[in-house]
């Protein structure tokens, strides 16, 4: 049997309007419009469709069948750590003890969740090798933003005016964007053989440098082996070293960012700690820092005195807040559950097997696709689709053809350093059988590219829709069904 995704013709909600009367919410027979000034009343409810529950259920179930997730098949999206999400985390996150818990309840009523959050702060601090961790940021990029805000707080405090943030040319797009949002100018440092070029770094660092943002292992899947030297170069010039934790999964329990002399560390809980990616979010991006920077962390921190947990707002040097309340608690609870399931040894083992899986897959593919930069990989590796150029094929075609073979494509065209990049991160939760099936599919596609390149150009044929025309969408912008009704 061959893979084929479900194809449904699902009407838009606006096309499915059944003019149903709502029966989910109690009726309000004697509503008094005079409670509101006439200038503000909306007498006719907003134009949203009214659909019966069976039709709603079918609508979303059919849509879900046209969506590929980790539970459907291998999803080796490089840099995103699409590992399996334990089901028990989902069932615990549905417990009324969190679902119906209001963030403004008095602490006496929330001791259970505060204890979980407190312990999570400590566990992440141990994993990151840093003394204090804030759980507040909502995602990795939000952690970066907080990190840059802390950098600013620190230099403001010591009275130094530094306006530059450095990053390697392999850095993720969120890094420069976060630095700029925090008012910094960014300067790219070139790589040499895939890792930071120390000479170039030395030249770039000056007394205007506030920080260097460095993912490790980097986005090529290479460990930045000179990291201690890098830290020394930065620290000698009074600058700080920032750890983008997107790739922590490769090294957990083997080496810690804090021990590598990073000053600020973010964790990406939706990657490393197995919380679901939700089709694009929610995530969570806690930030850990050195002793020196801890006083600037956002409020509240979760604290304990004797055996009582509380929210500590009494931190006079804190920068304040970067989002409402404590953080994405539902996500934090899942990460806590995962760490308790795995334990210290399990986390280390997960890292090891993610690296094993990645190297195994790279080994199986290295004779079939160009693989620039190094041989020893961490949790991910980058291939190039450039060898198919003479057939008029691109990496995009390989990606689309993978869909027909039942896989989610890898990250493509990133990192920018590799021409026609295919960035593959299998994660530790893929079985050898699935790794082999993926390798077989990639090899098959390389053969198809030789024998029948049209197959790649026409791909995908077994997805819910054929190749999507991005140009047409760009030329004919339609961003809501109201645009369609206007004849957009």
């Amino acid at each position: 049997m061959e893979y084929h995704a479900a194809r449904h013709n699902v009407p838009l909600l606006s096309e499915a309007n059944e003019e149903q009367d709502c029966c989910h919410i109690v009726e309000e027979p004697d509503f008094d419009w005079d409670l509101f000034p006439s200038s503000m009343r909306r007498m006719e409810g907003p134009p949203i469709p009214s659909i019966s529950e069976p039709s709603v259920a079918r609508h979303y179930t059919q849509l879900s069948q046209m969506n590929f997730g980790v539970d459907v098949g291998m999803y080796p999206l490089g840099s995103c750590t699409m590992k399996y999400n334990p089901k028990v985390s989902e069932s615990l996150a549905a417990h009324a003890g969190i679902v119906r818990l209001h963030p403004r309840e008095p602490e006496a009523a929330t001791q259970g969740i505060l204890r979980i959050l407190y312990e999570l702060q400590l566990m992440l601090a141990e994993i990151g090798g840093v003394p204090e961790v804030s759980l507040q940021p909502a995602a990795g990029a939000h952690g970066e933003f907080l990190g840059m805000r802390l950098v600013r707080a620190y230099f403001d405090d010591i009275g130094e005016d530094r306006n530059q943030v450095l990053l390697p040319d392999t850095s993720h797009g969120t890094n420069p964007a976060s630095a700029v949002m925090s008012g910094y100018e960014v300067l790219e440092v070139p790589s040499k053989e895939g890792t930071v070029d120390l000479d170039a770094l030395e030249k770039a660092v000056s007394d205007r440098t506030a920080a260097f943002m460095l993912t490790n292992p980097n986005t090529l899947g290479l460990f930045e082996h000179d990291v201690l030297e890098i830290a020394r170069i930065l620290h000698d010039k009074g600058a700080l070293l920032y750890y983008d934790g997107a790739n922590l999964n490769a090294i957990m329990g083997r080496v810690r960012p804090g021990d590598m002399n990073y000053d600020i560390v973010h964790f990406n809980l939706h990657k490393t700690f197995a919380t679901p990616h939700g089709g694009g979010g929610p995530g969570s991006g806690p930030v850990g820092v050195t002793e020196e920077l801890a006083k600037y962390l956002p409020v509240p921190m979760v604290a304990r005195e004797e055996s009582v947990y509380y929210l500590d707002y009494d931190r006079p040097d804190s920068i304040g807040k970067v989002r409402s309340f404590v953080g994405s608690t539902g996500v934090l609870l899942r990460a806590y559950t995962y760490i308790r399931l795995m334990g210290g040894d399990g986390l280390r083992r997960a890292a090891e097997l993610s690296v094993l899986n990645s190297n195994y897959l790279a080994h199986r593919l290295k004779d079939h696709y160009p693989m620039p930069y190094g041989s020893l990989r961490k949790h991910e590796f980058v291939l190039s689709g450039s060898s198919m150029k003479d057939k008029g094929l691109r990496t995009l075609d390989v990606a689309k053809r993978l869909i027909d073979h039942g896989f989610h494509p890898p990250t493509i065209y990133f990192p920018l350093l590799v021409e026609e990049a295919l960035m593959i991160e299998p994660t530790e939760t893929e079985s050898r059988r699935d790794l082999d099936a993926f390798a077989d599919a990639m090899i098959k596609i390389a053969e198809e590219a030789e024998a029948n390149p049209q197959l790649l150009r026409d791909a995908p044929m077994k997805a819910p829709v054929g190749r999507v025309d991005e140009v047409y969408g760009a030329r004919n912008p339609v961003y809501c069904w109201q645009d369609m009704e206007k004849g957009g």
């Binding site: 995704a5 909600l13 709502c22 109690v26 200038s39 907003p46 949203i48 259920a57 979303y60 849509l63 879900s64 969506n67 997730g69 995103c80 069932s91 003890g97 818990l101 008095p106 006496a108 001791q111 259970g112 969740i113 994993i127 909502a138 995602a139 990029a141 939000h142 933003f145 805000r149 993720h172 797009g173 969120t174 700029v180 460990f223 810690r256 939700g278 089709g279 694009g280 979010g281 929610p282 304040g320 807040k321 308790r340 334990g343 210290g344 083992r349 094993l356 020893l376 869909i403 990250t411 493509i412 530790e428 050898r432 054929g466 025309d469 991005e470 969408g473 912008p477 961003y479 809501c480």
Partner: protein
């Protein structure tokens, strides 16, 4: 280990690669920083973890256990059963950003519909598929207003959640954007329009008005404020449920509309995850932060959806992106959309009417009790209102806890000008009996306190 399928194949896989140990895979890590392991408790079987975590969660006292009138930005609305059942489908929640549209059509269509629903309730032209929460949505709106106008000041009300104000300040700090805070009328709790208009000058990128505001009051000044703003943009913050019965911000000339989408489809979850919604005028589409889903077609001419205008985003534009946001609150946006799809227009109106009605009944009941004034302000309100009291709010809150009641949000610390005051919020979940229970408890407290006082030290 139940999540590591290759544990029994490690040696075979290593051998195939010509390696002898896992350690060889870490040969490039400097020896001086290698560790032997983490000082964390050992892993446990699922059964034990579940029991322990359930035990801790059961220690929490929830809004299901106690009668709660807490609001202040998060509201305990009824979430239809369709929401967890459908958003909980693993095809949805175990997927990620739809970089490959062909294999992500389901979520893409659902997000296109989400955008359309946000446009329907706010009246705006375009919506993205979410920001982290209401506070960061406001911060991103301010940054966008600065980009659009190339001006460097924003004007905001004092009557806003101090935490949201802090988030805004942090987002604008690095860019050196000035924030001016405009006070409210002590009698109405509404924005002082004269002060607002005076605060706006030619350097002002935008003003921000919340309707309802943090105190729950409707900001009637919003209706024609645009007349006084000239080229300054109008950013409106709102509660999506209120838009069931309140005119949409677009009617008042809003340029950007933001808010926390939590009241629809998203339970309290001790503060998150929620979603920030963000909508604007069509002419500003290219300046928007975050992801936007567009309609297009596939190679055969069939309807298809994709991520549109990606050249605004960090993964393409890097340092010149409109925002750093990557991972957003997609699943929460899906829950928001499923909630609206389930209850439809009539259901949203019912939610709004019931939430407002309960609050007004409650205010009348409390105002009748000696020692309380409700609402404290003489303006219209939606589902939340401020109560002034002769009692010390801390004591009152503690006393209500003894009655299994979460009183509401205390305001005395953040807004000392109000004296002893707190806010109460209601939703369609509250019954008439719930409102009576609170009124009875407050009256008993007042009577008890004054009896005790009258009785001296007897």
């Amino acid at each position: 280990m139940q999540y590591l399928p290759n544990e029994s194949m490690v040696d075979a896989m290593l051998e195939e690669m010509g390696l002898t140990s896992i350690d060889a895979l870490y040969a490039d890590v400097p020896e001086s920083v290698r560790i032997d392991g983490l000082k964390l408790p050992p892993g446990m079987p699922e059964q034990e973890v579940a029991a322990e975590v359930e035990g801790l969660l059961s220690d929490n006292v929830t809004t299901q256990d106690f009668l709660s009138f807490l609001g202040g930005g998060m509201y305990d609305h009824y979430v239809p059963a369709t929401v967890p059942a459908l958003a909980g489908r693993a095809e949805f929640y175990t997927s990620y950003t739809p970089y490959q549209p062909e294999t992500s059509q389901g979520m893409l269509q659902a997000m296109f519909e989400y955008q359309s629903l946000v446009c329907a309730i706010t009246g705006m032209d375009v919506s993205n598929i979410s920001m982290y929460d209401g506070a960061t949505a406001l911060a991103e709106a301010a940054l966008m207003a600065v980009r659009v106008t190339r001006k460097e000041k924003v004007v905001v009300p004092v009557a806003m959640d101090p935490e949201k104000r802090s988030v805004l300040g942090n987002y604008l700090y690095g860019a050196g954007i000035e924030v001016v805070d405009v006070d409210y009328h002590p009698d109405t709790g509404q924005l002082n329009r004269d002060l607002l208009v005076r605060a706006v000058d030619e350097d002002t990128a935008a003003v921000y008005i919340e309707n309802p505001n943090y105190f729950g009051c409707l900001e009637e000044t919003l209706v024609d404020i645009k007349d006084d703003l000239g080229k300054t943009l109008l950013m409106v913050g709102t509660n999506p449920v209120a838009l069931g019965i309140l005119r949409p911000p677009a009617d008042f000339g809003a340029d950007i509309v933001v808010g926390d989408g939590q009241p629809l489809g998203n339970p309290l979850n001790y503060g998150g995850p929620t979603l920030g919604f963000f909508a604007t005028r069509r002419s500003y589409t290219r300046q928007m932060p975050g992801r936007i889903i567009g309609l297009t077609k596939d190679a055969d001419g069939n309807r298809a959806f994709h991520m549109a205008l990606q050249t605004r985003e960090q993964h393409i534009r890097r340092s010149k992106a409109t925002s750093n946001i990557c991972t957003n609150e997609n699943l929460n946006a899906l829950a928001f959309a499923i909630h609206l799809a389930t209850v439809g227009k009539g259901g949203l109106v019912r939610m709004a009417q019931a939430s407002a009605n309960r609050a007004h009944s409650l205010a009348r009941a409390i105002d009748a009790i000696e020692g309380f004034k409700a609402p404290l302000f003489g303006s219209s309100f939606f589902n939340e209102f401020v109560v002034g009291t002769d009692h010390e709010v801390g004591e009152l809150t503690a006393a209500m806890l003894m009655e299994d009641i979460f009183l509401g949000v205390p305001l005395t610390r953040d807004f000392p000008d109000l004296g002893e005051a707190f806010m109460l919020a209601t939703t369609e979940r509250h019954t008439g009996a719930d409102l009576d229970d609170l009124a009875v408890a407050l009256k008993a407290f007042h009577d008890g306190a004054s009896n005790w006082f009258a009785g001296g030290d007897l």
